[in-house]
């Protein structure tokens, strides 16, 4: 990290890093998850969730602003002391690896179910792992540039959805707000989970150039970009499928695209999936990166590549464990989601609380 100064990321790259991390494996099932929880009011839950996350983001930003030179792991070590800090940092690294494994599991399952039923899943996940590993080994600057380029594909995803506009029936969104508070809250839960990945802000912030205010602006714009992207997808799914039908369709967008046919492309869903794979790759790449950085800090090492390979391999092998049946995948998912509340929301709040009691310290005084 000696040449960190001239390797800083621009605000634009920061923006694309955030959205590419957040938009990932979840977009296919998000409308379904919301609908299961809150029926046709799922989109309300999503908006409520987005506002809550917005609040969390402010706290993360305040924390990052206090220690502009440090990433998450350095902050942890400074704020909680050496040993507890190491334990917490390590658990973050493990958490990121597990999220990476979850991404692999959901990805492998989806590809296996929709396109390649005869290919062993490990081949699919192995390809994903190796591509991401290759990408992440080139350094965060390259990753950021690559993500910026790939973001054009998100527009392509939206473009594919245009064809559905004829078949949408707004009627299916009504009656509004008939779900109970409990259902709405469950929907908020599913909605918030779609935004996870924002913790990236704390890991990457010290590498971003520009004033803290600019960073906040970028974070907000990125957050609402993702929120609106999700909202479009959810509204399209909710109005294309009827209220009673959606609970049967676990990846509504794909299912919807499958029923359209054009002269040249007869299976639009496969098109969509190919683009979606890219979104999954970006998410997985970032989780490997964060986990690798975490391990590096824990072991005070400079050899990033070794740790990246270790985490990628770990995620790959962990993914074998739940991939067998839907039941184990669901259990795995729900455990990681619970952990996410602790790691991405609760702990940062604690850290911020601690930072209020710590005397404002000149950055890097420890080293």
């Amino acid at each position: 990290m000696s040449n960190q100064k001239n390797r800083k990321l621009s605000q634009r790259q920061f923006f694309f890093l955030i959205i590419q991390t957040q938009i990932g494996v979840g977009i296919l099932s998000l409308p379904y998850d919301l609908h299961i929880a809150a029926k046709q009011d799922g989109w309300l839950s999503l908006i409520i969730g987005a506002f809550i996350i917005q609040f969390v983001l402010i706290v993360l930003w305040l924390l990052g602003k206090k220690y502009p030179e440090w990433d998450l792991f350095q902050m942890i070590e400074f704020l909680t002391g050496k040993w507890l800090g190491k334990v917490l940092s390590l658990s973050y690294a493990v958490y990121f690896t597990f999220v990476g494994a979850l991404v692999l599991v959901l990805f492998g399952r989806m590809i296996s179910g929709w396109i390649l039923p005869n290919t062993p899943i490990w081949v699919i996940t192995f390809l994903m792992t190796s591509v991401s590993l290759y990408l992440v080994c080139s350094g965060i600057k390259v990753v950021a540039r690559f993500f910026t380029m790939l973001s054009a594909l998100l527009l392509f995803l939206l473009f594919l959805l245009v064809f559905s506009l004829n078949e949408l029936k707004l009627m299916y969104l009504f009656p509004v707000a008939t779900s109970s508070w409990k259902e709405l809250a469950a929907g908020v839960n599913s909605g918030m989970l779609a935004f996870l990945g924002f913790i990236l802000i704390l890991v990457i912030a010290p590498k971003v150039k520009g004033a803290a205010v600019d960073t906040l602006k970028t974070i907000f714009i990125a957050h609402w970009f993702v929120a609106i992207f999700y909202l479009i997808i959810v509204l399209i799914s909710f109005t294309f499928f009827s209220t009673e039908e959606l609970p049967l369709v676990s990846s509504p967008i794909l299912y919807m695209l499958k029923s359209f046919e054009f002269t040249v492309v007869s299976r639009v869903d496969l098109f969509f999936l190919s683009v979606w794979i890219v979104s999954v790759t970006t998410t997985f790449t970032i989780y490997i990166y964060m986990s690798g950085v975490g391990l590096m800090r824990v072991f005070h090492s400079q050899n990033k590549k070794v740790f990246l390979i270790v985490t990628a391999a770990a995620a790959f092998f962990i993914s074998f464990w739940p991939i067998g049946s839907q039941k184990t995948i669901d259990a795995f998912t729900s455990h990681i989601m619970t952990a996410s509340y602790g790691m991405a929301i609760f702990l940062p709040f604690i850290l911020y609380g601690l930072s209020l009691f710590r005397k404002k310290n000149a950055a890097g005084s420890e080293r």
Binding site: W114, M171, F174, E244, K258
Partner: protein, 373 residues
């Protein structure tokens, strides 16, 4: 650097050695039409048409179509049996038409369709139709007009859709209508005409929930029903009797095309009483009117009024049929659920629909009359 190269080599090895999921065209038999009939003991008879291309030494291959039927407990088990009879694997991923026998459609049709929704390889764009009589006859028929039955049937279904006789629903689009309470649907009815060796569009089968009610809308009325539902294909043509006193029968009729339409459906719920009004405004172009005195504005207005009256009368007839069959094709029920949720919770829509008042108001405007008056 070394590591990157190694990684690249490994990736190439994995990617280039081949694919587990290749499906060669030579190894599958594409099934383009599939149909289901009810068989004895609640079994299902599945009939498929499979085109085979025989390669000649030179010139284009000759195409033959074989039709196979088997009986099984479920569509899939019947398919396994058919698989045992053909040289390659049975592949419905390019399915064009799915036909349901009348008897089968009178029971819940979802169990028959489930296999198509469940497998991602299947084509959800396949068109559906109900056959009056046996599907086996329809698929087995050798049409003189087109070479293969599937092309013929799908062409026929496209044509009736373009002529505003059906909604053109495919497998995916009816799925919502199957499950949603307060939303029903219609499917085209086809009948085998043995003498002419053709199929004939014979109206629309009215469904309630997931079941064919057995009632239908006749082909003469389907266009008006479609317009009342807000659908218009490429052309919507009517021939209506507007006069009675002319000596020659041909003089009594007028034919016109609908140029555009404006439909709205108003629903009022008061004290549990549902009132629905369907306003339909049609702008038309007269294409045939042998009596040819459309030069005066008053004549045109008179004709407008007469046509409006006739079509409104017919619309009322259609609605009484729908209510008799308890088939809520306008999705009035779902609308009440959406916009009058409190009232909806109090009613039992299955009972209610036939009791409500639906008033159609058709307003016709002659806008063009061809190049002569």
């Amino acid at each position: 650097m070394m590591m990157k190269r190694l990684l690249l080599a490994v990736i190439c090895l994995v990617v280039l050695t081949g694919c587990w999921d290749t499906r060669h065209f030579k190894n599958v038999k594409l099934v383009l039409t599939i149909g289901f009939d009810a068989a004895d003991d609640e079994k299902i008879k599945s009939t498929v048409s499979i085109p085979t291309i025989r390669r000649g030494a030179d010139g284009p291959g000759e195409e033959t179509v074989s039709v196979l039927s088997e009986i099984g407990y479920t569509p899939r088990s019947a398919r396994e049996k058919i698989d045992l009879r053909i040289s390659n694997a049975f592949d419905p991923s390019k399915l064009e038409v799915l036909l349901l026998g009348e008897e089968l459609a009178k029971k819940d049709i979802y169990p028959v369709l489930d296999v198509f929704y469940r497998n991602p390889k299947n084509n959800l764009n396949a068109k559906l139709a109900v056959i009056e009589g046996e599907v086996e006859e329809a698929i087995g028929m050798q049409p003189n007009i087109d070479t293969r039955p599937s092309k013929y049937i799908s062409g026929l279904l496209d044509a009736v859709k373009d002529a505003t006789h059906t909604t053109g629903d495919n497998l995916q689009l009816i799925c919502a209508e199957l499950f949603e309470p307060g939303v029903d649907f219609v499917l085209p009815l086809l009948k085998v005409d043995k003498e002419m060796s053709t199929l004939k569009f014979n109206g629309l089968a009215l469904f309630h929930d997931k079941v064919y009610t057995g009632d239908k809308i006749t082909p003469e009325q389907t266009t008006l029903l479609m317009l009342m539902m807000g659908y218009k294909g490429k052309v919507a043509r009517f021939t209506t009797q507007v006069l009675e006193d002319e000596e020659e029968q041909i003089m009594n009729y007028i034919s016109f095309n609908v140029m555009n339409l404006d439909r709205n459906l108003n629903i009022n719920v008061k004290d549990g009483e549902v009132e629905a009004v369907i306003n339909l405004k049609l702008n038309i172009r007269v294409v045939e009117y042998p009596k040819k005195h459309l030069d005066k504005a008053t004549e045109v207005t008179k004709l407008d009024d007469k046509l409006s009256e006739e079509l409104t009368k017919e619309a009322k007839d259609i609605i009484s049929r729908l209510q008799e069959a308890n088939s809520d094709v306008f999705s009035i029920g779902r609308r009440i659920q959406a916009y009058h949720y409190k009232e909806w919770k109090k009613m039992d829509w299955n009972e209610e629909f036939s009791q409500i008042t639906i008033t159609p108001k058709v307003e016709v405007n002659i806008q063009q009359q061809g190049v002569i008056n």
